[in-house]
């Protein structure tokens, strides 16, 4: 059986771990197969879990999270016949497929939509913790908003500094309210479980929010402007299918961007009414240009800076 190992946030973090789980479940539903999975409690369990599953003959082993580099690097060579798939970080080994997403480009598009939707000219961002990946979201979002409206004012907030930051909807909601009081009428939440507080607060204030990772439009219909989807679920589902067989396994780096529909913005019945055709047209235009390479969106994690 294949195995999926989630990161410390846990299987149901309303973020990429949950997306990974959903992907695996989708795979299960489609193929009728079964998979093993595990939630970590601390960093020391990473290698333990990998060895454990690999030793049991699980193949492939899929893991989500940027903290897997060291553990996977150590273990991959011990199990040359096992296929590993890691999401959000890069490990170079012949039996490892590294999948990373262009979160910055997806965020760029929702930034465009946010700036176009905003009547106040102020848009906000609530991140869980000030870590590089979240900065990557913010930096893309800010670039997109600026592109659509060079005068846009951006408010950048983070929930906290402890692991509770990812599960603190109350503080996140307060950040959103403060943002509203400071003039923001669209806020992008990239804060895991905390983001729910932003969605709720914006709904209560009669303003708009932007969801993250999975399509969160349904959570507060009519208030969630769109979601910056990052198809970890699709990646996991594909990995479970492809990596099971050495013939279809694709070791090396896989980058999922706009072109691959790995990232993007979501439109469905819940938010259709919120997006004007002009907005969609503008977003599609930017999307095409990014894919074509006419616009380069800066990726914060390449040099830890954001050109704004």
């Amino acid at each position: 059986d294949p195995a999926v190992i989630y990161d410390l946030g846990g299987k149901f973090d309303k973020s990429f771990n949950e997306a990974a789980y959903n992907g695996a479940e989708a795979w299960k539903a489609e193929t009728g197969g079964s998979f093993l999975d595990l939630e970590l409690q601390n960093d020391a369990q990473r290698e333990q879990a990998l060895r454990r599953f690999a030793g049991q003959g699980a193949n492939p082993i899929v893991m989500a999270g940027f903290s897997w580099t060291a553990a996977l690097t150590a273990v991959a060579s011990e199990f040359p016949d096992t296929n590993f798939v890691v999401i959000d970080t890069v490990v170079e080994a012949p039996n490892v497929q590294s999948i990373i997403f262009d979160e910055h480009t997806g965020s760029y598009l929702v930034g465009v939509l946010a700036a176009l939707k905003s009547e106040t000219g102020t848009v906000g961002f609530v991140g869980g913790m000030d870590v590089p990946l979240i900065h990557k979201f913010y930096c893309g979002y800010a670039q997109g908003a600026k592109a659509a409206n060079p005068d846009v004012k951006l408010i950048e907030n983070y929930t906290g500094t402890t692991p509770a930051a990812w599960n603190d909807p109350v503080t996140a909601g307060e950040l959103a309210k403060a943002g509203v009081d400071a003039g923001a009428d669209v806020i992008f939440a990239a804060a895991g479980g905390s983001g729910l507080g932003v969605l709720q607060a914006m709904k209560d204030a009669g303003k708009f929010s932007i969801g993250v990772d999975s399509n969160q439009n349904y959570l507060q219909p009519g208030s969630v402007l769109t979601s910056m989807v990052k198809r970890v679920d699709v990646a996991v589902k594909n990995a479970l299918t492809e990596a099971a067989d050495d013939a279809t396994f694709k070791p090396g780096l896989t980058v999922l961007g706009l072109a691959q529909d790995g990232v993007g913005y979501s439109v469905d019945d819940n938010n259709k009414a919120l997006l004007t055709p002009e907005m969609i047209a503008a977003a599609e235009d930017y999307k095409a240009k990014i894919i074509a390479g006419e616009i380069t969106v800066h990726d914060y994690t390449t040099d830890s800076t954001c050109p704004l």
């Binding site: 846990g10 299987k11 149901f12 973090d13 309303k14 949950e18 000030d130 408010i155 950048e156 907030n157 983070y158 906290g160 500094t161 402890t162 509770a164 599960n167 603190d168 909807p169 109350v170 503080t171 909601g173 307060e174 950040l175 309210k177 403060a178 009081d181 400071a182 479980g193 905390s194 729910l196 507080g197 709720q200 959570l219």
Partner: protein, 321 residues
Amino acid sequence: MDLAAILSILDATIRLSTPLLLACLAGLYSERAGLFDIGLEGKMLAAAFAAGAVAAITGSAWIGLAAGMAVSLSTALLQGVAAITLKGNQLIAGVAINMLAAGMTTFLGQTWFSQGGRTPPLGEGGRFVPITLPFANELAGIPIIGPIYYELISGHYILVYIAFLMVAVTAYVLYRTRFGLRLRAVGESPKAVDTAGISVVKLRYQAVIITGLLCGIAGAYFSIAQGSGFGNNMTAGKGYIALAALIFAKWKPVPAMFTCLLFGFLDALQIRLQGARLGGVEIPVQAIQALPYVLTVILLAGFIGKAVGPKAGGVAYTKER
């Protein structure tokens, strides 16, 4: 800063201090009775879960609140049995309660709702809605007073008003009633209480019950008022902050209110200062996030001085082997 900004921050102060205040008052009863309570966090969390779960199922915020209070009460009684009847270590009892609540809430939440421990988002009725006080709309137009009344005083959840009302109630109970007299006495000198023919054990259980009920309201506030539904560990350490506030306030109700307002204010300030610049340089967000804690330490060291708690705090009362 204009009036709107000031009102915005004060409004947030009230919202943020409410759960602290309820938990702080809750702790006050136990600690005044001579029971250290570091289990405020756990009781709030358990209550937040119960309130969120029951409100989601019944669609009634009031039933949710009752469930939150009931669960917090039973948690408090468990802690009470350990600390009072079995004379166990009060700190361990608190630690155990905190861990138990952290594990149980997510575990049961996942078992029942399969949303990773979260309870389903609450619809209309499942959640308390802000109440508009009489004449708020009519008076809103009056300069200064109007906005203050409309924004700051009116428009909060009923639990907010309950919290502030509890300050007066607590002060009254503590200083003006027989129960309050005995409560204060048992925390200072259980022996004096015992020889005066009053049951120390009964008195301490009464205190624990009140603590449980108030923590229940505090917890419910998180999940069915301020938030919409329960999220894992959503109390995020507020129980510890409430404990700190209680010590800061020297175990007195009115100072407790001001301390909680201060802590709430610092948090509201932190939220609004994120992204601020000092001399053209952006202050690291972490520095701003740490600000409430740093300021608390400074205020404590600079102005509050020694806090001496109830003398008999922390020790079980044994009259005989």
